[in-house]
Each structure stands twice: as C-alpha cells, then as structure tokens.
C-alpha cells in the first residue's frame, strides 16, 4: 500500500474526526485499568485517582503552555543551517488564547494532542506504581504536558521531522499517525527515567537470589482494560490518520483492520511464547502483548498492508515478554506495568517497522532519525529534568508509606476495605 496521499479536510472528515476523538479516551481508560490491575491491591485507589489527577494536570499544562510550542503554523520558530530550514518549535499563544477562533482542523489537532499529553503522563505513572508519590506524579505530568511532549508533538506532526520529506527528500518525512513515538515511546522512556530515579519496590530485588515476583492484584482489570483499550486505540489511530496523514475516510477501514491485526498477532505470539516458557500462558503478559501490538499499530496502521501490520504485531508479541524478563531479571528494572517494554520498546519498533515495510526505501531513514531523536534527546532530557525535580519534590514515598500501601498512606483509606491485610512475604 502506498502512503496516504494529501487531500483537503472536508466537513465530513471534521465530523468523523470529532466523533473518533470522543471515543479515543477509552484507550486512556483501558491503560488506567491495566496499570491499576498490575499494581498491588493496597495501591489500587491511589493508582486510579492518580491517573485522573495526572491526566488532568497534563491536559491543563498542555493547553496553557504546551499548545504554544506544539501547534504548527506560519509563525513557527525556524532556524537555517546549510541552506535548509529546521522548524523546531511552534510560536502560538500561551494560556489557550486563540483556541476559540482557530480553524476547525486546528481545534481537532488540539483535542488530539491534549488527550495525547494525558496519555504520555499516565505511562510513567503506571511504572511508578506502589512507590511514586502523587505530588511527584503531578509534577511529572506538568513537565511532560507543558514542555517535553509539546516539542515531540511539534517535531512529529508539523515540525522538522515530518518536513524531512520536502526539505531533505527523505521519503515522506517522519510518519507517525497514531503517536507511537510522540506518545508511547516518549511515555515509555519517561517511565524508564522514573523507575531509575524512584528505585524498585521494597523487597523486589533481595540481596540474594532472584527478584521477588510481585504479580498484579487483579488480572480481570488487566484483561478487561486491554479490551477497552482496543476501542480507544481504533479511534485514536483513525483520528490520527485523518489529521496527520491526510487519509481519506475510505482508508479508515484499512487503518482499523491493521490495528486489530497487529494487536491480535501480538497477543497470540505472547500467548505461545509464555505457554512455551512457563508451561501455561501468562494472562498479564498476554494483556501486555496485546497492548504492545496496539502500540506498534499506532505507527503502522495508516501506512502498511494488513499482512505487514500482522507481522509487525507478531514480532512485538514475541519480543515483549522477553524484554520484560530481561529488564526485571538481568537489568534490575522494576516496572510493574511493563511500560518500558509495552510503550517504549514496542513504540520504537513500530516506528522502525513503518519505515522497513514502506514502499520507498528512504522512508526507513526518516523513521530512524525519529527514533534517534526519542532515544538520544528525549531520554537524557526527561531523565535530567526528573533528576532535578526529585531534588525538590521527592519522587519516592517514605518506607513506612510503602509498607502501609499507597492507598492508606496518601488517601487515608484502602480501595478494598473489606480485604484482610496479610503479612507481606517480600519484607525480609
């Protein structure tokens, strides 16, 4: 399939995109359920309340500050090097001024990016489960929504990365309709930075022996969240294709089929891998495999053929459980939600795959430059910012709070008050 060709944005596309963007928050709800289910029961309420708080903070920060950086237009900040222009930031107005008078398509772009900012902030929140304080989550969300995500969004959807095509004759420029890079890979890398700074949960890596298994407290949340996420993802990818890839509405069925195929392929691959490795399929890892497939589809669904999307999903489903094991057992990375693998690694793989299977050979180069930006610039940047923030707003809860559980410590009550609290064997 050739990449989606540019076309005008008629009223039908506007109405369709608006409806899709109203459904897209189901993706956020699904990820929130998965995060809550993969955490401990004594932190479940804090996890879900935190999701709402973090989402709201990122959303407000983006509208007040981020939109000025992320928005594209004729007044963008551009510098020239070797006779070529580099559009590195938007120059919109702060505090959401001008949103009401902006053209309809720009308003839809704002809505898409506002929700994307919320999702980016939720991803590290899930990885910091059971030890990341709410104030720290709010601060992280504010920084991601106001500064970090807007730059990634601008570069991905209207700035220098997407202009690699017209300015440097590199394929169609960086292609990422559903936000596999600007949303998921960025969120996954931010999650890695949070994990490094907050450290592992107490008892996760004992002095002797292997790491302690800390399974999620409610696998039903995890699996149901995965199904809910599918609905949101379908809407997200289709809205992204309309807005950023200029897809005709008739192409949306293909986008939806590719999204489902990538998720299904990834799920079955993870199912088989965990069945072979552990003797029985692992429900949590299968759910994460499904999500990894969805994440890869964010980059691929609008530009690949169904067979290629299926292959990309299968590979994501094979790699994801192996990466989860590698991170936990070898690299001492305590990631309760698996965000570094599911969003970070799968997002990067999706971006590469979108270039690998594209009809033009130069497309892979554009995708690699985008990956280079995320890995080489965004990861050190978010780590540096979070490291400084940790000096002011401590990320990690006190040991006593971790022992009590985040619900009791931060909210004063448990998510499941009728549960009998038992001794935790991980405290040795």
């Amino acid at each position: 399939m050739t990449p989606l060709s540019p076309m005008p944005f008629p009223e039908t596309s506007f109405a369709l995109t608006l409806v899709l963007l109203l459904v897209a928050p189901l993706g956020i709800a699904g990820v929130a359920l998965v995060n809550a289910g993969l955490g401990r029961s004594r932190s479940a309420a804090q996890s879900l309340l935190g999701t709402l708080v973090v989402f709201s903070t990122a959303l407000i920060a983006f509208v007040l500050v981020g939109w000025a950086i992320a928005g594209g237009g004729e007044r963008d900040l551009v510098f020239h090097m070797a006779g070529r222009s580099w559009d590195w930031a938007g120059a919109g107005r702060l505090f959401g001024s001008g949103v009401d008078t902006a053209p309809p398509r720009e308003q839809l772009m704002l809505l898409f990016e506002v929700m994307s900012a919320g999702l980016v902030a939720m991803i590290p929140w899930g990885s910091g489960a059971d030890r990341l304080r709410l104030p720290a989550g709010v601060a992280i969300a504010a920084v991601l929504g106001a500064v970090v995500f807007p730059f990634a969004a601008h570069w991905t959807w209207s700035g220098w990365l997407v202009q690699l095509g017209p300015n440097f004759s590199i394929g169609n420029g960086f292609v990422d309709g559903g936000g596999a890079g600007a949303i998921h890979a960025l969120g996954g890398l931010a999650a890695l930075a949070v994990i490094w700074i907050a450290g592992p949960r107490k008892g996760k890596f004992p002095r002797e022996g292997l790491s302690t298994a800390m399974p999620g407290h409610n696998v039903v949340y995890v699996l149901f969240g995965s199904l809910v996420a599918l609905v949101g993802w379908l809407a997200w990818n289709m809205a992204g294709a309309l807005l950023w890839l200029n897809a005709a509405p008739s192409k949306l069925v293909l986008v939806a089929i590719n999204t489902v195929l990538a998720a299904a392929g990834a799920l079955l691959a993870t199912f088989l891998i965990t069945r072979v490795r552990f003797g029985k399929p692992d429900a949590s890892l299968c759910a994460n495999g499904w999500l990894a497939g969805l994440v890869t589809s964010s980059a691929c669904a609008g530009v690949l053929s169904p067979l290629a999307a299926l292959f990309v999903g299968i590979l994501a489903g094979i790699l994801m459980p192996l990466m989860v094991e590698l991170f936990e057992l070898v690299l001492s990375i305590d990631d309760p939600s698996g965000a570094v693998s599911v969003h970070g690694a799968a997002g990067l793989w999706g971006l590469i795959a979108a270039g690998l299977f594209a009809p033009q050979s130069e497309q892979l180069l554009a995708q690699l430059v985008g990956v280079s930006m995320l890995l080489g610039l965004m990861l050190p940047l978010v780590y540096g910012i979070f490291w400084l923030m940790d000096r002011v707003i401590r990320f990690r809860v006190e040991p006593d709070g971790e022992r009590l559980g985040m619900d009791l410590h931060e909210l004063g009550g448990n998510a499941y008050p009728e549960f009998v609290v038992h001794r935790d064997e991980s405290y040795r």
């Binding site: 070529r84 590199i170 490094w196 002095r207 690299l331 690699l368 280079s372 890995l375 080489g376 780590y383």
Partner: protein, 59 residues
C-alpha cells in the same frame, strides 16, 4: 557512570542530524544515522550498567 552514558546519548542524536544535513546521498546519510544510533545504544548500555552497579551497591 549512569550520567556519563546519558551524556553520550545526545551526541548520537546530533551525529544523525549532522548526517542528514551534510550528506546528499541516501547511503552516506543512512550509514551515519546508524552510527548515531549506535552511539546512543552505547550510551544506553553504559547508563543501564551504571544503574545495575548502583543497585548492587545499595542492596
């Protein structure tokens, strides 16, 4: 060690940017962008090893 690794990573990114700006040919650009990614990967490996070292010291 972790910080050293993280400081190396932007060098890989700037190598990629320089490659697409300075070279006209796709082959040279691709080669240098891959080199940039390799530098980033090395920085990441150093950062991860630094993290593991810190973890084993703090246990």
């Amino acid at each position: 060690m972790k910080y050293a690794g993280l400081l190396v990573m932007p060098a890989g990114f700037f190598l990629s940017i320089a490659a697409i700006d300075l070279f006209p040919g796709a082959t040279q650009r691709t080669a240098f962008v891959l080199c940039g990614l390799a530098v980033e990967a090395m920085g990441l490996v150093v950062a991860v090893r630094g993290h593991m070292q810190l973890r084993s010291e703090n246990r």
